[in-house]
Symmetry: C2
Subunit: 203 residues, 2 copies
DNA sequence: GTATTTCGTTCACATAGGTTAAGAAAATCG
DNA sequence: CGATTTTCTTAACCTATGTGAACGAAATAC
């Protein structure tokens, strides 16, 4: 199947939007083709583990449809979710991806999910050949950094109940798509505690 | 004072090292002069608040000597430290810096501190004119992102005692320079709790 | 160098969230 | 569709950390 054919499906247009919205600038067709030629489609069913701790993670995933979550497993075997990602967002074990070391995180689909993935080598080549992608990934990760820092601060300053209310307010659409026990895990509490909190919030 | 004079003092050489180590590449003199011409020295005594919540924060600081910390103040007036920065590191309210909105964080010196600061406008101009700085800031913030994500995960999976031990192991040099109550705040606990933990760790 | 403020420690008590267990509700499977 | 598994809720009890207060030690100011 030709690249042209490929681009009709698989959500390459969504990718172009994501890039242009992020850098607040149109990219030209050469640049667009350059990145498309390096990103391959991947389709996974619900509940598939696609990033695994202890394995090299040399690609990052752009979601064109579906939902997934990234998590860490602690010594007791408990999962701790630190990211939800849906269409038009990126997900990966960036520690492994950028450092080249063995991965430390896991990620799994929550729904049937379509991705476009890029390998580290291709990512680096792309940035070398087209500075616009250094720009794009700089801004992408700047935004991610700012959001993450905000979460870290709030996880230290707010009660679990307040974090839950903030989650409801900020991402109500995720409530429909994500099981409660993962939301609890994302908030840093146990499912039983989230149940308790929800009961209190109603009062 | 000429730029040449300026560069002899104020730690511009430290900045060049920081850039070259980060991108793993030498920059040429033109590029170096370009960034130097946009970064101004700033010198502050100990215990000076230099970033303030509610004010626009349109510059980021590179530390050439000294130490500072960034913090949030919660509804009860309690400070929550989320970053320590010493020489050869950057500090700023990146939320305000990148978004142009009013700042949400604070930062204060812990020691007499020397900075080089760059304004957002100059930062943007620099990245437009020299793609190498898109590259530099991309990698700088990539590294910061990965470290921050690790901290977020650990803050959810580890006990305060384990976080303290990890802090000791990873940054023993900070123990000498930073008061205990700030370390407690960084670990997400109260000074009294850190005292208790230290006593237990000895056993 | 003394006075004053800030910092670190200890303790007794309070509380948010964890733990364990059980049952109800919902989703998935055959 | 009914059977099975997974998810959500409730409740009783437990534990890590917070709270408030007191005191000595250290740092800072005068």
């Amino acid at each position: 199947m030709s690249l042209e054919m490929n681009m009709k499906n698989h959500g390459y247009a969504i990718l172009r939007n994501n890039i242009e919205n992020t850098i607040n600038l149109k990219i030209n067709d050469e640049e667009f083709h350059a990145i498309c030629s390096k990103m391959s489609p991947k389709i996974l069913k619900k509940n598939k583990l696609f990033i695994q701790e202890g394995q090299y993670s040399d690609e990052v995933h752009f979601i064109t449809k579906g939902a997934c979550y990234a998590f860490d497993v602690d010594d007791k075997g408990d999962k701790h979710t630190f990211q939800f990602s849906i269409e038009e967002h990126w997900i990966g074990d960036l520690y492994s991806f950028f450092s080249g070391n063995l991965g430390i995180y896991n990620a799994e689909t929550i729904e049937d999910t379509n991705f476009l993935v890029i390998k580290r080598k291709d990512f680096e080549k792309l940035c070398d050949d087209y500075p616009i992608f250094d720009r794009f990934f700089r801004i992408l990760i700047q935004n991610a950094f700012v959001a993450l820092q905000y979460r870290l601060v709030k996880s230290q300053t707010e009660s679990a109940a307040d974090r839950y209310k903030a989650f409801l307010k900020k991402t109500p659409h995720l409530l429909q798509r994500i099981p409660q026990y993962l939301i609890a895990s994302y908030l840093g509490i146990k499912p039983q505690s989230l149940s308790r909190i929800k009961k209190d919030v109603l009062k």
